[in-house]
């Protein structure tokens, strides 16, 4: 009889834990001002936000009790310099949504990140440290970052908003989007995705963007200043900007469509390339 009573409890307790939300866990680490955070997840949303405090608060929401979060602070006493977070499936048969873990991390502004989240979105906000992010199918969003950003997603889109540090992004089928960057250097490549740029170019900036079959839509204020090298083999280059065209170089004839020119004083350098897609250069729409 006693045995009969215990058996249902084995099911009830995890179910109650699930219902009460105990599949959420939070860890807090007192850190230096610029800790390194290394995160390996499988599925789910990862959000990292910068804050002024010298500590990291990491909250995890797990889809299954058969998921464990390994959180390792280094060193394990005193101010933490590095935190390693990893999703560990206790039941290897878990897949898809059943393997999902959402991370929400508040970290010092100076934190540097290394994030792998193959099947989920990564969102990074307001950090000064470097960020290295990789995904297979997930989208990556980075905003208000002043450190170096390297983001790769095979199938997801990548969006960089108001970045002021070095930016290097690549995708195979995903779109790339840049909004109001103030960085001096951008490198962007996608095979079949589109590239959209909205914003000014800082003086001496060096931006290189390339897609194979996608379009490039470059929108900038009329006052922006840059040297342009735009070319497409099978697509066309359309521009609505007031460019001072350079004399035709032989390469203009080599490539199907190319446009070299100077916009205002030519303070920055802009190189846009597409093999099959079109390239559009136009004034940035006025903000409402």
């Amino acid at each position: 009889m006693r045995r009969i009573a215990i058996v249902p409890l084995l099911f009830v307790v995890p179910a109650a834990a699930w219902a009460s939300g105990s599949l959420r866990r939070t860890d807090t680490f007192v850190t230096i001002a610029n800790p390194d955070i290394n995160l390996n997840n499988l599925v789910g949303v990862v959000v990292v936000r910068g804050w002024t405090e010298a500590r990291v608060r990491a909250a995890y929401t797990m889809a299954s009790p058969h998921i464990e979060i390994d959180a390792t602070p280094i060193p394990d006493s005193g101010q933490v310099q590095r935190i390693e977070l990893a999703t560990h499936l206790l039941d290897p048969a878990l897949q898809g949504a059943r393997a999902r873990v959402d991370y929400t991390i508040d970290a010092p502004f100076g934190s540097s990140l290394e994030i792998r989240n193959p099947q989920g979105v990564v969102r990074i906000e307001k950090l000064n440290g470097d960020a290295w992010v990789a995904s297979v199918g997930g989208n990556i969003f980075v905003s208000d970052s002043s450190g170096r950003v390297v983001a790769r997603s095979i199938g997801g889109q990548i969006q960089i908003i108001r970045a002021s540090g070095y930016v290097e992004v690549s995708s195979v089928t995903g779109d790339l989007r840049f909004v109001s960057p103030t960085t001096s250097r951008i490198r962007a490549r996608t095979s079949s995705g589109n590239i959209v740029y909205q914003g000014n170019l800082v003086p001496a900036a060096d931006y290189v963007m390339e897609t194979y079959s996608g379009d490039i839509d470059f929108m900038c204020p009329p006052a922006s200043s840059f040297e342009l090298k735009a070319r497409s083999v099978e697509g066309k280059v359309f521009h609505e900007l007031k460019l001072n065209r350079k004399n035709h170089h032989h390469s203009v004839f080599y490539y199907g469509n190319a446009l070299y020119g100077t916009h205002n004083d030519g303070a920055a350098t802009l190189e846009l390339t597409s093999f099959r897609g079109n390239i559009y250069l136009r004034p940035q729409p006025q903000q409402p």
Binding site: E114, A134, R187, S191, S213, V233, K246, Y254, E271, R276
Partner: protein, 227 residues
């Protein structure tokens, strides 16, 4: 900056110059022509990056891939471990479809080549991604390099096909779609190589697509074996 025959002469002399032969006329032209100067600077940058790549430490994932290939060949045996049973299932799948020994050697060689081209999930923090660098600057990849890279890709692709069934379905769909995109890009670039007018840019895109495809397959193999 007007185009003339000197630009064409520059291009014709470039290969010899890169081999170390003195070409004062080429350098003189590069000083006068903005475009050719940029081309030369970009190639020098790629060469410099290439030399840096050799110093990079192989990632842990690389050794796991090599180990998996050795296991697949039956050269080493794996002791079953409770936490890794799904990984072993993947290896067992590979054992059912063993790769030729020569293929293994090629795969290892291939992976060594790929050390300089970070996979999507392998971090190389010291320098900007060479793949991006290659994509963003004038591409110079000798025919021999491309031939070696295509051999690499064939090996990786074969390993991928052996292990693809172990990928989570949505990830597999992403990889397949991306492979399709890159294969299409490679095919079109190869066709364009016959077109004199577009050869230079087609060659640049082709090399970049090969590198991206190799990275993609490397990434898929990491997940196929370790999920």
């Amino acid at each position: 900056m007007l185009a003339d025959d000197s630009c064409l002469n520059f291009e014709m002399q470039l290969a010899d110059y890169l081999e170390g032969e003195p070409r004062p006329a080429l350098l003189a032209h590069a000083r006068q022509c903005d475009f050719c100067r940029c081309v030369l600077a970009d190639i020098e940058q790629v060469r410099a990056l290439g030399s840096e790549m050799l110093l990079e430490e192989p990632s842990a994932a690389l050794w796991k891939n090599i180990r998996a290939a050795l296991v697949a060949e039956g050269i080493i045996r794996v002791r079953p471990a409770s936490r890794g049973w799904r990984m072993l299932r993947g290896i067992r799948g590979a054992l059912w479809h063993p790769l030729p020994v020569t293929g293994l050697a090629a795969a290892v060689t291939a992976i060594i080549i790929l050390l300089g081209t970070p996979g999507y999930l392998v971090r190389h923090p010291a320098a900007p991604s060479p793949a991006i660098q290659r994509a963003s600057v004038y591409q110079y990849m000798a025919p021999g390099d491309i031939a070696q890279l295509t051999r690499t890709i064939r090996q990786l692709e074969r390993s991928y096909r052996v292990n693809e069934s172990y990928l989570e379905p949505s990830m597999k769909a992403t990889y397949e779609k991306s492979l399709e995109s890159l294969n299409s890009e490679i095919q079109e670039c190869q066709n364009s190589l016959n077109d004199e007018a577009n050869r230079s840019l087609a060659s640049q895109y082709l090399s970049t697509a090969y590198v991206q495809k190799a990275e993609l397959l490397q990434s898929a193999l990491e997940y196929g074996l370790h999920q």
